[in-house]
């Protein structure tokens, strides 16, 4: 039997005229959209500080002889509870880490705005709240104000959490300060968060446990900064878009080339296998408890030792070098040959070939 389908919706819209998931993937498409729309007119930096124009992890305003660092982040994740964490832990750690990436490792307080879908289970909300509380204790911070909204069924997917963080610091570390000669350090294995989530979504099981790395790492960063005062030139947390996007942003904004030694990059064996099978590149996969740190060459070993002495940095490694060869370029030395490290376009999807 043949079934004739009703005509589809007419009125096609050009693919540049609507926002697509590609614009939310943390790569170039997202940065362009923000610069062209949301940030237009706001791009003038505040007097002596880091504003929207820098497109950094947060803003920094001069307050007397110190800096007030402000950052905000909205969190959506599917599934809400995942191996190694949940949206509550993600919402706290994400904002604490964004502050830390600016050099502000002692958060003064967080705001928390929650939007819930009608029908969301109260027990799940309580579980998320307990997780937020635990993560706050871990990071040495507390929620100081908040807001709650409920929307109708189907108007959003379960729960959205926005957190904003503020902190004071004596020295701001931008993501644009890399200098030729600097070494690049990653604070641990890459790709754990994204692969753990993807495995859950696609019901792929592993013969070894794999959990998201979601965690507040402000104490780890504090240790690194204290080990070599003034020697850390740039930091970025490789969340959406993975290490590749973060390195591109750092290289472009700093006007330098970064060469990464792939064999030196720590990758969990399960992540390596899964990425291989799913046709994904661990450099494109999101992390939620890692940082990329640029440091002056003479201090690299000292910073590395400080990171490794901390439980969240035991697998830290020096993975690359900065040069002035080709501004904005990121080169990957695979140990077999060299190639450019491409930024991911759109959400990483399992592929067949």
């Amino acid at each position: 039997m043949s079934v004739t389908l009703k005509p589809g919706t007419s009125g096609l819209i050009g693919r540049d005229e609507i926002v697509t998931l590609k614009h939310g993937a943390g790569g170039r498409a997202m940065r362009t959209l923000i610069q062209e729309t949301l940030a237009a007119g706001f791009l003038d930096a505040p007097a002596s500080g880091i504003g929207l124009a820098a497109m950094d992890d947060g803003a920094a305003l001069k307050l007397g002889d110190r800096w007030l660092v402000v950052t905000t982040d909205s969190h959506v994740v599917h599934p809400v509870f995942f191996p190694g964490g949940d949206i509550g832990r993600l919402a706290i750690a994400g904002t604490v880490n964004d502050l830390a990436m600016m050099g502000a490792t002692e958060p003064a307080g967080l705001t928390c705005a929650v939007i819930l879908e009608e029908g969301f289970r109260r027990s799940d909300l309580e579980r998320i709240q307990r997780s937020m509380l635990d993560t706050c204790r871990e990071a040495g911070v507390t929620v100081i104000t908040g807001d709650t909204k409920v929307m109708g069924r189907g108007e959003l997917d379960g729960i959205v959490i926005n957190t904003t963080g503020v902190a004071l610091t004596d020295r701001v570390v931008p993501d644009s300060g890399l200098l030729p000669g600097d070494r690049i350090i990653v604070t641990g294995t890459i790709g754990d968060h994204g692969i753990a989530l993807m495995a859950r979504r696609h019901a792929i099981a592993f013969d070894a446990p794999l959990e998201s790395d979601v965690a507040p790492i402000n104490a780890l960063i504090r240790a690194a900064l204290a080990a070599a005062p003034g020697e850390v030139t740039a930091m970025k947390d490789p969340t959406r878009g993975g290490v590749a996007s973060a390195l591109h942003e750092m290289a472009e904004k700093s006007g330098v080339e970064i060469v990464i030694e792939e064999p030196a990059v720590p990758v969990h064996p399960v992540v390596r296998s899964a990425a291989e099978m799913l046709g994904l590149d661990p450099f494109h996969i999101a992390n939620e408890g890692k940082a990329l740190i640029g440091v002056r060459p003479a201090s690299a070993e000292r910073v590395l030792a400080a990171l490794r002495a901390h439980p969240r940095g035991s697998e830290a490694a020096i993975i690359g070098t900065v040069s002035d060869a080709h501004a904005g370029r990121v080169v990957l030395d695979t140990g077999l040959g060299r190639r450019l490290l491409a930024e991911p376009e759109g959400e990483p999807l399992p592929r067949i070939c």
Partner: protein, 378 residues
Amino acid sequence: MLETLRTTEAAGQLRFRDPAKAKELAQALDKVTADVGRAPVSVMHVCGSHEQSIAKFGLRSILPKTLNVIMGPGCPVCVTDVPEVDEAVVLAQDGLRIATYGDMLKVPGTALSLADAQSHGAHIDVVYSAAEAVELARDTTDEVVFFASGFETTAVATAAVVLAEPPANFSVLSAHKYIPPVMEIVAEMPGTKVEGFLAAGHAATITGSAIFDRFVDRHHIPVVVAGFEPLDILAGLVKLVELVRDGTPRVENMYPRCVTPLGNRNAQQQLWRVFRTVGGMWRGIAHVPNGNLRLRDEFARVDTRKKFRIDVKRLWNNAPSTLTQLCMCGDIMAGIASPSHCSLFGKECTPDNPVGACMVSSEGTCRIWHQYGGHPDL
């Protein structure tokens, strides 16, 4: 639970990624290429996975400058033709759930890709296997269409689910392709410069390496079956250029740990029980006789094209595309033209809005040129 990954597999692969051995093979390749005594020597691989590996491990930076390794009709996703994508887009717009592999989402149709259709509200599920698409259908009363792409290797997996009594709300929209015929097309293309083929190891595990004997007899072009690890590819290239140098065209199997001369007979039986070959367009290349795999009539129940009347014409009314006619992917894949010869390259045809096969895939020649400005000296 569909799949249990064994992490020990990763360790096994490392044997085929040994930098010291790679260096030896690269030196051997330099020597044998120089021994041919003319430049450039052009060979072609016919598999996206080979290009993927070459790009991923940075192998192009260690290949001899006088060896031109051309990316052939490559990944099955890239060569999925516009009308095939249109069929899936129309069904998605009409409210059917489309289950497909992730890299099919970005392949452009006449007016929209599946990713575009999804942005407009269509329900697209990214699946990792044919079995996952069936699971999806079992979990819902919605009509689920598995938009299936891939060469014979992947087609075997589709055949297996078709033979395993899938639920009534499941059907297959086959865009599966069959590799051997397209090698004939490339070999017969006027002005083709291809002197040897690196054949895809995974497809050959099914078909066997002997399937290429007839091709070599007809065209006197050597074929080397190679695997996908860096050492597999380098060793395959060394063997292939040796055959070019010696003027002794024959089939060599450099992937014997997986490929036998006759292949996997069971898988072949499943494949041909479910599918038959029909001629069809491969995007940007040519009409390939017997190049497409379609479901046999006895499986009409699970054949989307038999189950639904798919009106793709309404998309053509919206935005008739003449761009694909200007696309030069066919010539680029035959080694006759470079991306810079194409009037669309970097203008109408970009990674965000690809027209042809070579721009669709992240490992396509045009895509790599666009992103990296040719092959930069690294």
